[in-house]
Symmetry: C2
Subunit: 385 residues, 2 copies
């Protein structure tokens, strides 16, 4: 079995459980930090472990362009390349192709695009994206989809949804034929000889992605037809693309009711601390977002007392910890005054410490959510903001 | 007593000992990492502790401009501001005034200069620099000197040396009158109430700086007249300013023979791993240099097998550790291929990991030097390069 999912407690629509992957267990609902290029920007893997990160997200598009899939595959896959023995999920690259690359040309076959790095012409299709994700070797990989833009005409939303469904079938077909090519079981990087046990009985899991824009009827159809293809987990894609948050929530609710209860549900690309609690309450099991890490690099910090923009002069003389209710290594040691100075002075350490704190805050938030569900309570976001 | 220095073993001219400061003991010969703005760029203080760093250097010029001395003083001094309970040494700011600032104007009184940050007009003198260093509260502070440029005419070297001597007297006078203003003994940042013991019986130590350009006769005179003023430690300044390394060594030898055996000898601004071993052999006890940290940020890494430029394509597929003979957390976990990828992708983590390794290499080098001296052996730089 590539992946098992056990629900251990429920509270209303919310569920707490365990996702058992070839690289360890993941407590759900889970927030997955984004490690775009095989690194959560500024944070060594041993600190991610200390924070309790059980699953990371890697971006296929970015790794495809640099250092290249073949390079990572030859080095034993993404886990070994970045020395991360816990679970990894990769996206399919579709979202970045549509948001980052230039001069893209979409056909039934796939997408031709220019690299945002060097302008070179590249091509991704359901087969190529799945091949890439098998080469990277994440525990959970995603079907190649088209992320429908917002707003979009109804006919455009339907045709985009239909394309995603055809691509889901092709992704699954390629995956089933090639999933045993996953590069696990070789010698660990840095050891003289291959000593790790082989996981020949284990492989990756491919998740399907539900599209359908902001139309509940199309979302239902997309969910049903994606389930018909059959995946061990389902993602809700095409949200957090510029629509109002109220609409996001409506579409999540309209979609989630059509997803099977026994498989993991992954809401892609969300959200704020308040939102991840809200979506966990709706029955979402997995989420990812660049917000905590990107905001940290811009000096925007999440605390139990609300958001803090550490660049503000009011913190220049503040001896207190960033968040008096946080137990992370940053709050345990450094003052707001010091963090403000590091940020104002453009010190690298500002990015490191800010990112560690924001991730800690997100992970603590999800720990509290899981605890509430285990107690049968409704998870709430407890912020003094 | 502000500072005690105990020599515990000698081997030829080399000595191994302990520098006992108000913030802990420092094993010598010691290499002091540079934490310019209250941060060793990219490395959290807890990792510096793990590396065994016992003393850091802070730059008065940089901290004077940002966040400002008064700010640091109000927050309890540099130790508390940056949450570093071990020893700190600050330079006087003189070197940076001469190397970084614009439109400087030198008079007997001091130096007027424009900030390299905002162009504002600033002034440093022996009194102002000493006041600033008392406000920062480092364990060891430096007299305000003029770092003579290289090359320089003999008459210029003499007049510069004479000015440094007059400034040394003024620095000492100001220090003796104000040393009890050091901001130690207040409540720790982040704690609710002041709980730390006060160190009212302890204060800083002010070191004198020997100048005299590349003239052994002037160096002797500068040493003798600086000793006449009287300091608990002596630095050799004005080297590593562009002169050939052979000349640096000659001037160190010409100077050190005139310095008292029982006080610490600090050679400012050196050097490569080979050089710090060489200078320890000449009887130097303390050194500092931006080389390991700055080189790390440019992908230049020091290893037991020689220097490595990690940006090179030859490392893209190299599964081995950066240095197979290094036990640091970077070499224990990450491959050259991964470090090369991080550097090539301009990831923040490259700067973090590279700096941790280079510092580890320098600190290990000095540990080996101290061990050799303790055994009565001549310290050697053991590189396969």
């Amino acid at each position: 079995m590539a992946l098992r999912f056990q629900i251990e407690a429920t509270s209303g629509a919310a569920r707490a459980g365990r996702l058992i992957t070839p690289h360890g267990e993941v407590q759900t609902p889970v927030f997955m930090p984004v490690g775009t290029l095989g690194s959560v920007k500024g944070v060594p893997q041993e600190i991610l472990e200390e924070l309790g990160v059980e699953i990371l997200l890697g971006n296929t598009y970015h790794l495809y362009l640099r250092p290249g899939i073949e390079q990572v595959r030859r080095l034993g896959g993404l886990h070994r390349f970045m020395s991360w023995d816990r679970a990894i999920l990769t996206d399919s690259g579709g979202f970045q192709v549509f948001s980052l690359s230039e001069l893209r040309k979409l056909t039934e076959e796939g997408v031709t695009f220019r690299s945002h790095l060097d302008g070179s012409t590249q091509f991704l299709s359901p087969e190529a994206a799945t091949e890439a994700q098998i080469g990277l070797g994440a525990d959970i990989i995603m079907a190649f989809d088209e992320c429908t833009e917002y707003p979009a005409e109804p006919s455009r939303v339907r045709s985009s949804m239909e394309l995603t469904l055809r691509w889901a079938e092709r992704s699954k077909k390629y995956f089933e034929e090639h999933k045993h090519e996953v590069p696990w079981g070789r010698g660990h990087v840095g050891t003289a000889a291959p000593t790790a046990p082989t996981h020949s009985d284990r492989t990756q899991a491919l998740f399907g992605i539900v599209q359908g824009g902001m139309d509940p009827v199309l979302r239902k159809e997309s969910a049903e037809r994606t389930i018909e293809i059959g995946f061990p987990g389902y993602a809700i894609g095409g949200l957090s693309v510029g629509e109002p948050r109220k609409l996001t929530r409506e579409i999540v609710e309209a979609t989630i009711q059509h997803l099977p209860a026994e498989t993991p549900r992954y809401l892609m690309g969300v959200g704020t601390p308040e939102e991840i609690v809200e979506y966990a309450n709706l029955g979402i099991d997995m989420m990812d977002c660049v917000l905590p890490t990107r905001a940290a690099r811009h000096g925007l910090l999440f605390t139990s007392e609300g958001k803090i923009s550490i660049k503000q002069a009011r913190y220049a003389g503040d001896r207190g910890p960033l968040d008096p209710n946080c137990g992370c290594r940053v709050c345990a040691r450094y003052s707001r005054a010091y963090l403000r100075h590091l940020y104002a002075s453009n010190e690298i350490l500002a990015q490191v410490l800010n990112t560690v704190h924001n991730l800690s805050f997100y992970l603590d938030t999800m720990r509290a959510v899981r605890h509430s569900i285990a107690l049968g309570d409704r998870p709430q976001f407890l912020s003094g903001k």
